[in-house]
């Protein structure tokens, strides 16, 4: 395991910006908590139990709190470093723009790019998991909670098209609060665009594993998240179409404990496997091997 890599991506802080600042939380889907990171990088406070944890310990535990077992969100490069070897990024140059000239959106994008050091809300490329080559994408909670606008949809579509051409399986780490509303109808169209690319990849007889992480809701949940051959859900992840607050407002009652959590989703028949973070790589490798390795009886 490359703890150093994972740690680096967990705590990568471009310039003078911190994760979880006010600005970052200002307009995303409100259900999900934002990690509270202590800037000295030596220790941090668990966003769930509030205990102070050494950052090294947290990183070695893949962002799972050793005291209470809470899953901290993983930045996409940390996620990829945890699961794959020899990652080579693709489509890094792709960036979105203010297609509708939506007020304030240019500034918002510029601030997010500055803050995260990333151009957009998904990282794509190729790598190996358990020795099996695959195409990968991982979505970024720091970028308006992984919301899908043109750039995110374009990169994911290109990843599927690339995988179809190169006959590679796709492993996607899904995280999204839904659509990028500042891109209006263009954002909605990404659901159709990505779905069509998933379909073509599937028609070529290729494997797609979606790993649904916290949160997977809205337009992304209603497109490529639920179009995979195998749907893994990370333990405890919130997965659903509408966010819990929207549902509570609609039906005017409190939702039961555990509603829309990975375990609930599996019980209702919509997720194949619940995975703990520490076993994710191994589970992915095993499934990839069953689909992609030569059979030697």
């Amino acid at each position: 395991m490359k703890f150093e890599d994972i740690k680096k991506f967990f705590f990568k802080k471009p310039k003078n910006a911190l994760e979880g600042s006010e600005e970052n939380t200002s307009e995303r889907i409100p259900e999900a908590g934002e990690p509270a990171v202590i800037p000295d990088k030596l220790a941090e406070k668990c966003e769930n139990c509030g205990q102070i944890i050494l950052s090294d310990e947290m990183a070695e535990n893949f962002g799972v709190c050793p005291k209470c077992g809470h899953y901290k969100k993983m930045p996409p490069r940390a996620r990829i470093a945890m699961c794959a070897e020899n990652f080579a990024e693709l489509f890094a140059e792709e960036e979105g723009g203010n297609v509708l000239q939506f007020p304030g959106y240019d500034e918002k994008l510029a601030a997010l790019r500055e803050k995260t050091g990333e151009k957009e809300g998904v990282i794509c490329g190729t790598g190996e998991i358990g020795g099996v080559s695959c195409a990968l994408f991982a979505m970024d909670y720091r970028f308006v909670m992984g919301s899908m606008g043109h750039a995110v949809g374009e990169k994911i579509t290109k990843t599927f098209e690339y995988a179809t051409e190169k006959k590679l399986p796709v492993v996607g780490f899904v995280l999204s609060g839904g659509a990028r509303m500042q891109e209006g109808i263009v954002s909605l169209m990404q659901m159709a665009k990505t779905s069509a690319a998933v379909a073509k990849h599937g028609e070529a007889g290729l494997l797609y594993i979606a790993v649904l992480t916290d949160p997977t809701t809205g337009g992304v949940s209603a497109s490529f998240a639920f179009e995979a051959d195998v749907i893994m859900a990370e333990k405890g992840a919130l997965i659903g179409f509408a966010g819990p607050r929207v549902i509570e407002q609609t039906i005017r009652q409190k939702l039961p404990e555990g509603f829309q959590r990975a375990e609930f989703v599996q019980k209702k028949g919509f997720a194949d496997i619940i995975v703990e973070r520490k076993e994710m790589k191994e589970k992915l490798a095993a499934l990839l091997k069953m689909h992609c390795a030569e059979v030697s009886a």
């Binding site: 659901m191 209603a222 639920f226 039906i251 919509f270």
Partner: protein
């Protein structure tokens, strides 16, 4: 009319709903019920009838016209079963080489406990991916509100048309104003910013045709019926594989 006035118009009481269009445009309509899995979702109406002498599978999101109708059809907010019924009828249409026509009019897919338990996300995702690869001609017409994923589930078509005071948007202007500006009073501003009017959508390439409404008089339905018949006559000459490739390109451009 400004964008907000169009938003209000698209939801106006007395506006023709999918059943009205079916009654006016489709001959000998036979409704087919149920998703064969769980229930018959009345928010989605489906069946077979003739348009221009050609059998067509017709699917519509129905809001209901009077109080009882609105309750029966759940105000046009479909549950997963509605999308699963639509997919069943689309696959049936493909088998019998019938074109598929969808009338879209919904504020969005239903948000509720049952809808989540029965996989609303999966139902819409399946509807999009099945429709976008369907080997038969498809046309969707937005006749009121085209609300987000719930509308897209029935709009992954060869062409999307819209009547002139209808809207198609990723989020309601109310939702946009409250999330982005924490101010539901900014609905008019959000309506403008979202570029959800027929004119904007045509410019952005999200729709191919804006249908003049003319107060929804008889001439409107006659003209629309003729245009639909002509569209299917033309598309029925195209090999299925070419249709599917053209549809891929249609959505790939965004």
């Amino acid at each position: 009319m400004n964008a907000y006035e169009i938003v209000l118009k698209s939801r106006e009481k007395g506006r023709p709903t999918a059943l009205k269009y079916i009654g006016k445009i489709v001959d000998g309509f036979i409704e087919l019920h149920g998703d064969r899995r769980f229930a018959d979702d009345r928010a989605v109406i489906g069946g077979i009838g003739y348009i221009g002498g050609r059998p067509v599978t017709v699917i519509g999101i129905e809001k209901g016209s009077d109080t009882n109708g609105k309750i029966e059809h759940n105000f046009g907010c479909a549950h997963p079963e509605g999308y699963r019924k639509a997919v069943r009828l689309m696959k049936q249409a493909e088998k019998f080489h019938r074109p598929v026509l969808c009338f879209v009019d919904t504020s969005g897919a239903y948000c509720g406990i049952g809808a989540e338990e029965r996989g609303q996300s999966e139902a819409i995702a399946s509807s999009i991916i099945e429709m976008i690869r369907l080997k038969t001609p498809t046309l969707s017409i937005i006749i009121g509100e085209g609300g987000s994923g719930g509308a897209l589930g029935l709009s992954a078509a060869d062409e999307v048309w819209i009547t002139e005071t209808s809207t198609y948007s990723v989020i309601s202007p109310e939702g946009c104003a409250s999330i982005l500006w924490k101010d539901s009073a900014k609905v008019a501003e959000a309506s403008e910013c979202l570029k959800l009017t027929a004119e904007d959508l045509l410019r952005l390439g999200a729709v191919e045709k804006v249908v003049k409404e003319n107060g929804f008089n008889d001439e409107f339905y006659e003209r629309l019926g003729r245009d639909i018949a002509a569209f299917f006559a033309e598309k029925s000459e195209v090999p299925a594989e070419s249709l599917v490739e053209a549809r891929y390109a249609r959505f790939r451009k965004f």
